[in-house]
Amino acid sequence: MSSLAQSDATAGAPAASRKGRWGMACLILTESALFLTFVVTYLYYTGKSLSGPYPVDVIEYPTVLFNSVCLISSSFTIVLAVRALARGRVALFKVFWVLTMLLGLEFLVGTAIEWKGLIEQHELTLSSNLFGSTFYSLVGLHLAHVTLGVLVMLLITTLALFGRIRREHAERLEICSWYWHFVDAVWIVVFLTVYVYGV
């Protein structure tokens, strides 16, 4: 019985999953072009602010490094989650999935704390200088993508809690996880641009 259902599920899968894979790949391509534009903008305007606060004065590493570690490790936990689901271990999937979501959430909260400091202590805003304009737009664009990812994960968590996520969905979740890996990879580029090169 279960073997029959499984073969049915795999029989219909290839065409649909190929579409999903190509669709996600195209989305990642076009999103890369979007991020690249903001990264190039950041690089172009690095060191061109006419007045402070300048990056050297305001950038602090502890929070952002902790955030980065959380976000990067969420890429590993999401792989573990999808693998667990592919092997039919739904409970383990839920654990890793929720963990991934919490790590993403930590990134959001951590960045909020960082931004609060920047805005209140250093009075760095979108309008203070070019550094502010480029910093908030680039990091903010990435943050918007993390937010979207966390919302989608919340949706899938809810479905999982109602028992709607089963083994046959592993492939779809894998395709979703590409988006998350992409968001992580973009963060590495953003980090190198803003916190390493830009300082």
Binding site: K19, L29, T30, A33, F38, T41, L130, S133, S137
Partner: protein, 556 residues
């Protein structure tokens, strides 16, 4: 049937009109969406054409005062924006939508609902743009519509130089419309990659599928920089950021880079579908297989790649370095090579063929001549010192209208005559078609052919009027006279479409004796396209079917 008629139905009977409207508004069928894309594009084409006619009337003689100078600015902004984003791109997506699933033998696009989303986003983005005429501060008599040119250069778009909401409508329109374009482009690429029927290997796909895929790939890469730039501009205008604010250290030239990094690939996004249509029509009406198929594919991909490295030729007069200007002058000349290969291949296809000069073919022959002229003036403008002299003059206006009307629009006309029978089951009238063709052809060449001359004499673009002693009047009045012929031509086309859709000669499945898969199904095709998934063995599946003794596979 009878049993369903007497089934008790709680809901009140609906009018046939509501059913009809509901059918179109809720459809996810690629053929209906294709027709909707093309019809909306034609609607906006008429609007954009009226704007152009008003401008030509104002410029037809020196010191005319038919409208306010501000209105003139609004007109050229809206004309450019409309023709590029609301006519050219939806035409691309319309033809892509209608033809690609039929040509590769699939049931629909990869994501049908996303397809509908893409269409409605496009349609409402157009409504948003035109809503600017009544929305915002326009109600209080201030300039509501954008009047900053279709490329919206900084710093004119800064909040202190353009205080109204016009640029905001333009920026939001670009942002929203961009999302719709991305959705549909993604859909097309995924469809071509994953939904081809059995035997349809990449090198057996019709050239239209190849070229439109390349154009959609370009949309995916070139559109986001414009979206990013619009976001930055909106931030500059409303949140006080400094991206393009030179007083805050920003750079107005950077906007130009971002805009043209989108803007030049956009030219190829628009014109590749034109090439695509021509590549389908010329072989059928020459009764020969396309000459140099692999070279055509390679040239298309090559154009797609090089198109992303030529944008600075729009900025030669900005004052960039000599090295930069030389590099982009060279890359601009290089992109003429694959384009030239295509022209030779089309001529090679016609050479020695048995030409049938029906309406679709007639449009393609006109395309060849006019696109060649556009290419030649393009090479002239690629030479940076020559461009210094003529940039921002009517010579440039004439050049790119030869590209977009002489090239793209004539190809679209050809496509309309060629596939109208497939979409409606009826032929588009040949006699009225000839009137349309010759009126428009003559009108177009009168308007834009003669427009090169005042441009070379130094008449700048985007001027509201000019002085009497420049010697430009005679050329301008000739240009304006051509508009009358073009408008008459377009009227013939519209009347022809409306009349033929009802009373045209019945077409049958394959009126042109063509070779690609869309002609294998009925006209109009059923909702499921093909009864059985087709199987192809060569680039011309219908030729194989009609000539089983001499199939194509042996020669490929």
């Amino acid at each position: 049937m009878a049993s369903s008629d007497i089934t008790p139905d709680a809901s009140p009977p609906r009018s046939p009109f509501m059913d009809w409207a509901r059918g179109w508004m809720t459809t996810v069928d690629h053929k209906r969406l294709g027709v909707m894309y093309i019809s909306s594009a034609l609607l906006f084409f008429v609007v954009g054409g009226l704007e152009a006619s008003a401008m030509r009337a104002q410029l037809s003689w020196s010191q005319l005062d038919l409208m306010e100078p501000g209105t003139f600015n609004t007109l050229f902004t809206m004309h450019g924006t409309t023709m590029v984003f609301l006519v050219g791109m939806p035409m691309l997506f319309g033809f892509a939508n209608y033809l690609i699933p039929l040509m590769i033998g699939s049931r629909d696009l990869a994501f049908p609902r996303l397809n509908a989303v893409g269409f409605w986003i496009f349609f409402f983005s157009g409504c948003l743009l035109y809503y600017s005429s009544v929305g915002g501060e326009a109600l209080y008599g201030l300039a509501g519509m954008p009047d900053v040119g279709w490329f919206a250069y900084a710093p004119l778009t800064a909040i202190n130089y353009s205080p109204g909401n016009g640029p905001d409508y333009w920026l939001l329109f670009v942002l929203v419309g961009g999302i719709g374009s991305l959705a549909t482009a993604l859909n097309v690429v995924v469809t071509v990659a994953t939904m081809r029927c059995e035997g349809m290997t990449p090198l057996r796909m019709p050239l239209l599928v190849w070229m439109i895929s390349v154009a959609c790939g370009l949309v995916l890469i070139a559109m986001p920089p414009l979206s990013a730039a619009s976001i930055m501009m909106l931030f500059d205008r409303h949140f006080g950021s400094h991206f393009f604010d030179t007083q805050g250290g920003g750079s107005a030239v950077f906007w130009q880079h971002l805009f043209w990094f989108f803007g030049h690939p956009e030219v190829y996004i628009l014109v590749l579908p034109g090439f695509a249509i021509v590549s389908e029509i010329i072989p059928v009406f020459s009764r020969k297989a396309i000459f140099g198929y692999p070279m055509m594919v390679a040239a298309s991909v090559c154009i797609g790649v090089v198109a992303m490295g030529v944008w600075v030729h729009h900025m030669f007069t900005v004052g960039l370095t000599a090295g930069m200007n030389s590099f982009f002058a060279a890359s601009t000349m290089i992109i003429a090579v694959p384009t030239g290969i295509k022209i030779f291949n089309w001529i090679g296809t016609m050479y020695g063929g048995r030409l049938h000069l029906k309406m679709p073919m007639l449009c393609c022959v006109a395309f060849l001549f006019q696109f060649l002229c556009a290419g030649l003036t393009g090479i002239m403008l690629a030479i940076a010192p020559f461009d210094f002299q003529l940039s921002d003059s009517y010579f440039v206006v004439a050049h790119f209208h030869f590209v977009l009307i002489g090239g793209l629009l004539f190809a679209i006309f050809g496509g309309l005559y060629y596939w109208f029978p497939k979409a409606t089951g009826r032929m588009l009238g040949e006699k009225l078609g000839r009137w349309h063709f010759w009126l428009f052809l003559i009108g177009f060449n009168v308007t834009f052919g003669f427009m090169h001359i005042p441009g070379a004499m130094g008449m700048p673009r985007r001027i509201y009027t000019y002085q009497a002693d420049r010697g430009w009047e005679i050329w301008n009045v000739i240009s304006s006279a051509g508009v009358v012929l073009q408008a008459a031509g377009v009227c013939c086309l519209l009347v022809n479409i409306i009349r033929s859709a009802r009373k045209g000669a019945v077409a049958g499945d394959d009126p042109w004796d063509a070779w690609t898969l869309e002609w294998a199904t009925t006209s109009p095709p059923p909702e499921y396209n093909f009864e059985k998934p087709p199987k192809v063995h060569s680039r011309r599946p219908l030729w194989d079917l009609k000539h089983p003794d001499d199939t194509d596979g042996a020669y490929e």
